[in-house]
């Protein structure tokens, strides 16, 4: 009998581990965005975004430390609303999108506070270079949507140094770092 209880206990543990809900980022409805901001000569902020990306994550409110996320960005989809600048950004001075068509973030750990904010750590790969980064995450909300699905949303911000990823084109001393903004809404996947 004791053995059966032990077995059940182990099973239940395993069960809770797979209980975390899986979400895919709502790319179809575009309730997600990846934006960036970089200083222009120290006078103003230039904002741009990546139009094409995809990803999925798992999250369970009861065990946020088990949360995982993976996001892939198509680098050539960079868009700063200026054709010639975007062409330059896709070129070898910057993203070199022919050679490195994808950027990727894979999380390693997540620590969430009671207020919903948290720190997500993981590896960010850009231009073939992988470095650990830290994303400050804020939980926004979750619940049933009007169309029969279940959604959850977060926002995240991160800072990266361009030189870390081999981008050394001189944009001035104020533009060594770039800030990334993630708006992520996930649609829960029905369990098999």
């Amino acid at each position: 009998m004791k053995r059966i209880y032990t077995a059940l206990f182990v099973l239940s543990l395993a069960a809770t581990n797979v209980m975390a809900d899986d979400y895919i980022i709502d790319k179809k409805g575009m309730h997600a965005s990846i934006n960036f901001k970089i200083s222009h000569l120290g006078f103003s902020w230039l904002r741009g975004r990546f139009n094409d990306f995809d990803g999925h994550f798992s999250y369970d409110k009861a065990q946020p430390e088990n949360a995982k996320i993976e996001v892939t960005i198509k680098t050539s989809s960079i868009d700063s609303n200026h054709a010639k600048r975007d062409k330059h950004l896709r070129g070898q001075d910057f993203l070199n999108t022919d050679k490195y068509p994808e950027a990727k973030f894979i999380s390693h750990s997540f620590v969430q506070e009671k207020d919903g904010s948290g720190i997500l750590k993981g590896d960010f790969t850009l231009r073939g270079v992988t470095k650990p980064i830290l994303i400050e995450v804020k939980y926004i909300g979750e619940g049933k949507d009007p169309w029969g699905g279940y959604r959850i949303g977060f926002e995240g911000t991160a800072k990266i140094a361009l030189a870390d990823y081999g981008i050394v084109y001189d944009l001035g001393s104020t533009a060594k770092e770039l800030e990334l903004f993630f708006e992520i809404e996930g649609i829960r996947q029905t369990k098999q």
């Binding site: 050539s76 609303n81 054709a83 010639k84 975007d86 062409k87 084109y169 001189d170 001035g172």
Partner: protein, 192 residues
């Protein structure tokens, strides 16, 4: 009338278009090759592009006028001294000139207007964007623009060598008739 082209001469309009376009195109080539080497902090970083765009659109306009002009004028007859192969080579070289110039003008226009922005021509007026491109297409168009320009350079060198050959070796009026509408093809040289 020395205004129009005829069997015996290039008219003043053709001569004017030939030389003004020759200088503009040489200038644009040099400017183009130079401006892509400029870095962000060069004072000409933006200005060079502005000149290139403006002059390029002027050449585009002149090219349209020239094509219309050629199609509505009699071609001067080949000199009697020309070899058959020379006549053929010249014909295809000239056609290739126009094709390359069209490709370069159109692709140049498409680079600057790829994201819907218009091209400013000397603070005078704007040429609006008509076709917006995907990022991949915009990069392709840029490659076409560059490659066609280098092909044009090769053709230009051939053109100049041919002109010099006619002037100094053959000692005929091929070159000078493009300078002076009063130099007529003599009747005995008129046709084969």
């Amino acid at each position: 009338m020395w205004f129009f082209d005829s069997h015996k001469r290039y008219g003043i309009i053709t001569i004017f278009l030939h030389w003004i376009m020759a200088f503009l195109i040489i200038g644009l080539f040099v400017l183009g090759a130079y401006m892509v080497t400029l870095t962000y902090y060069n004072p000409w970083y933006n200005r060079a592009l502005w000149w290139h765009d403006s002059l390029g659109m002027v050449v585009f306009g002149l090219l349209m006028i020239r094509l219309a002009w050629i199609l509505n004028n009699t071609r001067p007859a080949p000199l009697k001294t020309y070899k058959k192969i020379e006549i053929k080579a010249a014909k295809y070289a000239h056609i290739l000139f126009y094709i390359l110039l069209l490709i370069i003008c159109i692709s140049g226009y498409l680079i600057s207007t790829a994201k819907g922005a218009s091209i400013e021509v000397f603070n005078g007026f704007n040429i609006p964007s008509m076709i917006t491109l995907q990022e991949i297409q915009a990069d392709m168009v840029g490659n076409i623009h560059e490659r066609a320009s280098y092909l044009l350079l090769v053709l230009f060198v051939v053109h100049v060598i041919a002109a010099l050959k006619h002037h100094f070796l053959d000692k005929d009026i091929t070159f000078v008739r493009m300078l002076n509408p009063n130099i007529l093809i003599k009747s005995k040289e008129k046709t084969k």
